[in-house]
Amino acid sequence: MAKPKFDVGDEVRVRNQTSLFHTRTQKYTRGHVGVVSEHRPEWVIPEDEAFGRVEDGRKEPFYVVRFKQTELWPDYTGFERDTLESEFSERWLEPARKEK
């Protein structure tokens, strides 16, 4: 099993990569910054599993990322501390700030 690239507590940005067909990476999270809140077991990425490639699909670590609602929705009117969590395979995440 691959060692996860990101630790719990790391700030990550969801990549805004072109996707052609099925993906589980919501459009509204793309380009936004959140904090890794949980590691999930390595599994076949949705882009492969969706086409029946369970045996030979590409496996990656998965992460739960916690976003501030105010980060996702600029006009959010709820409480400042409100959050939303979603799950991503490793390919969709990059460090929030580029390393120097």
Binding site: L20, F21, H22, T23, Q26, A50, G52, V54, W73
Partner: protein, 141 residues
């Protein structure tokens, strides 16, 4: 609905499509922006403009649970997986995706999947549906 003409079926599907839209009839070219929008997978439902939806209590019906169990059994037997089901639901296109009840989407794509993989043929399935419909109609008399 076997009694409906092509025109009636077309009108029915058009009325069911919930989104206001520009009429497109296989245009010769489209913009990159339009293509990006057309690739948007249908289950990705966060953040679209929408009106508040009423919250309605609804119990699960026997056909819904039968559909659920059938689809799970197909998974256990290795015929498909949940992610494939979701992808196939997206592949139904907007009119069917938003027009069908939740579990009707499941059973529709389960059928398509079994046909795609050669487990059943569409004419076998059609014949079976007609046979049961006929039996059902007779039973009502």
């Amino acid at each position: 609905m076997p009694g409906l003409t092509y025109d009636q079926l077309q009108k029915k599907a058009k009325d069911l499509a919930p989104e206001e839209r520009e009429i497109l009839d296989s245009p010769y070219t489209i913009s990159n922006e339009a293509y990006a929008a057309l690739r948007w997978v249908l289950h990705d439902v966060g953040g679209q403009v929408d009106i508040p939806a009423p919250y309605l209590e609804k119990g699960e019906e026997p056909w819904e649970m039968n559909t659920y169990l059938t689809c799970e059994c197909l998974g256990w037997r290795g015929a498909w997986n949940s992610e494939e089901r979701r992808r196939r639901e997206n592949d139904l296109g907007g009119t069917q995706y938003f027009g069908l009840p939740y579990y009707a989407r499941w059973i529709t794509v389960a059928t398509k999947s079994l046909v795609d993989k050669g487990y059943i043929t569409v004419d076998e399935l059609g014949a079976k549906i007609d046979e049961i419909r006929e039996r059902y109609e007779k039973g009502k008399q």
